[in-house]
C-alpha cells in the first residue's frame, strides 16, 4: 500500500471497505466457501487433529535448532550445484536479485505466487531496473493487471468479483470477455504461455525447504509453479528463514494439513519439489538455481514475543474465519500480510509502532487459533502486542487516561459504586423506552448503532440485601 493510503487512519480505511459493495459481495462469497470447504475436509479426516499437533511440535523443534537446519539446507543445495544467498533485510534480498538480473542480462522474469516477494516489493524494484516481471498465478496476474496488491495470502484477488475481472481483462487485454471464470482463465492462460517461453528468469517463493535433501517445495493449484521452475534458464526462490523443515517425513505431515486448511483439498493440484538445477544428463530444469534465505525481522523473534508466528504456513485459514477480515478484506490492513496472522507478521517486519491500531483490529474471538493448522495462539500474541503498545506509551493519551480511571474504579468497590450512582444520574437525559441512546463522548461510538442498557435502578449489590433476607 502506498504511503498516502497508509496515512489514512485505519478506522477510515475500514470504513471505506465496509462501504464497498463489490468488496462485500466478493468477500462474503469467498470466505464462506473457504470456511465450508475447510470444515468438511477436516470432518472427513480423523487423523487431522493429531497431525496438527505433530506439525506444531515439528515447527517448535525446528526453531530450537534453526541455525543447524539452515546450514544443512544450504550445504545440500550447494552440493546439488545451487547457490545460497543470505539476506539480513528485504533490501539485501532485493539487491541480490537485481544483481543477478544485471549480471545475467535478464529482461523478463515470470513469477509464481510468493508473499515473500510481495513483502520486499520486488515487482516495483524489477520494473525500475528495466526487468519486466510477469505474475503467472491467475489471482496475481489479475492484480498485476489492475496495479494492485494481494488482499489475501493465498487468494490475492479475493476482493474482486468475476464481473470486475471480466471488465479488467476486457480493458487491459483488448476484447469483450464475459464474466465466466472458465473463459477468463483461458484468456490468461493464452497470454501467459508465450511469457513462460520468453522469460530469462523464474522467481518463486517456497512453501517449505527440506534441510536433509535440499529440496525446495512449492504448493500450487495451477501448475504455473512447475513452469516457472523449469522453463527459464535461471530459477530464484525467495524464502523466509523460518520455512526450513528438517526431513521429508516432516514434509508429508505438513502437506497433509496445509491444503486442507487453505482450500479444503486433500493436496493441492500440484506439489513441486525442486532439487538443484539441471543435472548432467537431465533434459529439463534451469541452468542455475538460487535460494535466497531472508531474515527481514524474523530471527530476532526466535527469542521474541512473536516466536509462535514463525510457525505460520501461510495457509490463510485465519483470514477466512476472522470476523474483522471478513468485513474489511485485506487492503484495509495496509500492509503485505493481512488478517490476524498478518497483524503479527507486520509487527515482526515493521515493528510494534506499525500495529498500534491494527493490534486492536480483533475482537479476540479466537476463531483464528481454532483453525490454524499449527494452532498458533494469535489472540494471545495480539494481546501481548497491545501490552507492548501500552508499555511503550504509544497508545493515545486519552485512552491511557480512561483506562487509568477504569483501573482505579476496579481497585476500589467504593469508587465502583460511586461510578454506578453517577452513571444513574448522568444517563437520565438519554433514556428512551428504557434504553440509552445518543450518548455523548466515546459512549457515542456505541449508541450510534446500538442501544445500551441503562445502569439499573438497583444494582445487584443493592438487590442482594433483599435476597439475603428471604
Amino acid at each position: 500500500m502506498s504511503e498516502t493510503q497508509l496515512r489514512t487512519p485505519f478506522p477510515q480505511r475500514a470504513h471505506a471497505a465496509l462501504g464497498d459493495a463489490h468488496l462485500q459481495e466478493a468477500l462474503t462469497i469467498a470466505t464462506t466457501k473457504f470456511i465450508g470447504l475447510r470444515k468438511e475436509s477436516f470432518a472427513g479426516y480423523p487423523a487431522g487433529e493429531a497431525l496438527r499437533d505433530r506439525a506444531r511440535a515439528i515447527k517448535e523443534a525446528t526453531l530450537q535448532r534453526l541455525d543447524q537446519h539452515l546450514e544443512r539446507l544450504a550445504d545440500n543445495i550447494e552440493r546439488l550445484g545451487g547457490h545460497v544467498h543470505w539476506a539480513a533485510t528485504g533490501d539485501e534480498a532485493r539487491d541480490i536479485i537485481l544483481r543477478l538480473c544485471r549480471d545475467r542480462g535478464v529482461r523478463m522474469a515470470v513469477k509464481s505466487k510468493s508473499m515473500a516477494t510481495e513483502e520486499i516489493d520486488l515487482n516495483e524494484a524489477l520494473e525500475a531496473a528495466g526487468v519486466k516481471p510477469v505474475e503467472t498465478d491467475l489471482g496475481e496476474y489479475i492484480i498485476q493487471l489492475a496495479h494492485e496488491k494481494p488482499s489475501h495470502i493465498i487468494a490475492p484477488a479475493i476482493h474482486k468479483t468475476k464481473g470486475q475481472v471480466a471488465d479488467l481483462f476486457s480493458k487491459e487485454l483488448g476484447g469483450r470477455f464475459e464474466a465466466d471464470p472458465e473463459v477468463l482463465t483461458a484468456v490468461a492462460r493464452k497470454e501467459l504461455r508465450q511469457k513462460f517461453l520468453e522469460a530469462d528468469m523464474g522467481i518463486t517463493g517456497a512453501n517449505f525447504a527440506v534441510a536433509e535433501t535440499g529440496t525446495i517445495v512449492l504448493v500450487t493449484n495451477e501448475g504455473n509453479g512447475r513452469m516457472v521452475t523449469s522453463l527459464p534458464r535461471i530459477h530464484v526462490a525467495v524464502m523466509g528463514m523460518e520455512k526450513v523443515i528438517p526431513t521429508m517425513t516432516d514434509l508429508m505431515i505438513f502437506l497433509s494439513i496445509l491444503a486442507r486448511s487453505a482450500t479444503g483439498q486433500k493436496l493441492s493440484s500440484y506439489t513441486t519439489l525442486v532439487r538443484g538445477p539441471r543435472q548432467p544428463g537431465e533434459v529439463e530444469g534451469p541452468e542455475e538455481l538460487h535460494l535466497i534465505l531472508m531474515d527481514n525481522g524474523r530471527m530476532r523473534q526466535v527469542a521474541g514475543t512473536l516466536r509462535e508466528a514463525l510457525y505460520c504456513l501461510r495457509c490463510g485459514a485465519c483470514l477466512n474465519v476472522c470476523p474483522v477480515y471478513r468485513q474489511i478484506g485485506g487492503h484495509a490492513y495496509g500492509y503485505t500480510y493481512p488478517g490476524p496472522i498478518g497483524i503479527l507478521l507486520t509487527a515482526m517486519l515493521e515493528g510494534t509502532g506499525a500495529v498500534k491500531d491494527l493490534a486492536h483490529a480483533s475482537s479476540l474471538c479466537g476463531a483464528c487459533k481454532d483453525v490454524c493448522p499449527v494452532r498458533i495462539d494469535i489472540p494471545r500474541m495480539l494481546v501481548e502486542l497491545r501490552e507492548q503498545v501500552d508499555r511503550e506509551k504509544i497508545a493515545p493519551w486519552g485512552e491511557r487516561m480512561l483506562f487509568g480511571l477504569a483501573r482505579r474504579a476496579m481497585a476500589s468497590s467504593a469508587l465502583f459504586r460511586l461510578g454506578a450512582r453517577l452513571g444513574r444520574l448522568a444517563q437520565r437525559p438519554f433514556v428512551r423506552n428504557g434504553r440509552l441512546q445518543g450518548l455523548p463522548f466515546f459512549f457515542g461510538q456505541w449508541t450510534r448503532t446500538r442501544d445500551l442498557p441503562p445502569v439499573a435502578a438497583r444494582t445487584f449489590s443493592e438487590r442482594w440485601k433483599d435476597l439475603e433476607r428471604p
Partner: protein
C-alpha cells in the same frame, strides 16, 4: 453445597436481574449462595487492552475476595475464562498469590458448567414457553470448550423449543473495547449475527455472556426487533424476565 456469586461488572450494573435469577435458581437446586462484598470487575477490559500491570492488581484483589469460597459461579463465560486461564499467569511473580489464583481458577465455574458438571443437573423445571435460539459466546465456546451444556439445559425445559442459530459459533462483534474502538466493524459483524437470528423465527436469543447480550440486545432493540436477548439463567428462572 455452597457457592459464591461472582456477579461481574456488567451483571452488577446493567443486568442485576440475571444475578437474581441465578441466585434463585441455585437456591432452588439446594445450593447455599453467598455474595462476597466488594466485587468490581475481573479486569478483563484492562487485560485485553494491554494494561497487564493494572489487570494484575485487579486480579490480586479478586483472588483475595474469593479466598474463602467453596465454588465460585459466574454468569459470564468470558469472565470465567479470565479467572481460569489468565489470573495465574498475571500473578506469576508472587508465588503465594499465584497459588491462590490457581486455587480460584479450579473452583471457578461458568453457570452452565457449574449446573451440569458440579451439581450434575441436566434438567431444570421452568415454566418458560417459546422458541429460542442459542449464541455460542467466543470465550465460553473456544476458551472453555463449552457448547453442549447450555443447549442440554435449554432442551430440557418442556416449553422451550431450541432451534440452531446459523453461524452460532461466529463472534457477535462485541470484543470489549473493540466495540467502541472500531464501532463500524463491530456493528457490521453484529448485523450478520442478527440477520441469522431473525432467520430462525425465535422469540428469544439466549447466551451465557453479559458482553454478547449487551451487544446483541442493544442491536435488537435498536432495530425494533421482537426478539429478546436473554441470559440462560432467565430461561431457567423466568420470574426475572423484566
Amino acid at each position: 453445597m455452597k457457592a459464591s456469586i461472582m456477579i461481574t461488572c456488567l451483571g452488577e450494573m446493567f443486568f442485576p436481574e440475571v444475578g437474581v435469577a441465578m441466585v434463585k435458581l441455585l437456591r432452588r437446586l439446594g445450593v447455599t449462595v453467598d455474595f462476597p462484598p466488594g466485587q468490581t470487575c475481573c479486569g478483563m477490559p484492562l487485560f485485553n487492552s494491554g494494561y497487564h500491570h493494572d489487570a494484575a492488581l485487579v486480579a490480586a484483589r479478586t483472588v483475595k475476595l474469593f479466598a474463602q469460597a467453596e465454588h465460585v459461579v459466574v454468569p459470564s463465560g468470558s469472565c470465567a475464562w479470565m479467572v481460569k486461564t489468565e489470573y495465574p499467569g498475571l500473578l506469576k511473580d508472587d508465588p503465594a498469590l499465584r497459588t491462590q489464583a490457581e486455587a480460584l481458577a479450579r473452583k471457578t465455574h461458568e453457570l452452565s458448567q457449574f449446573l451440569v458438571e458440579v451439581l450434575g443437573v441436566t434438567t431444570v423445571a421452568s415454566p418458560f414457553q417459546g422458541r429460542v435460539t442459542y449464541h455460542d459466546s467466543c470465550h465460553l465456546l473456544r476458551g472453555l470448550g463449552e457448547s453442549r451444556h447450555p443447549r442440554t439445559l435449554l432442551q430440557a425445559v418442556p416449553g422451550c423449543e431450541l432451534v440452531e442459530l446459523p453461524g452460532s459459533d461466529e463472534c457477535c462483534g462485541f470484543g470489549g473495547s473493540f466495540s467502541v474502538r472500531l464501532p463500524e466493524v463491530s456493528t457490521a459483524v453484529l448485523d450478520k449475527k442478527l440477520a441469522n437470528v431473525e432467520s430462525t423465527d425465535a422469540k428469544c436469543l439466549v447466551a451465557c455472556d453479559a458482553g454478547c447480550l449487551m451487544q446483541m440486545g442493544g442491536g435488537l432493540t435498536r432495530r425494533g426487533s421482537r426478539v429478546r436477548a436473554l441470559h440462560l439463567a432467565q430461561v431457567l428462572e423466568p420470574g426475572e424476565i423484566a
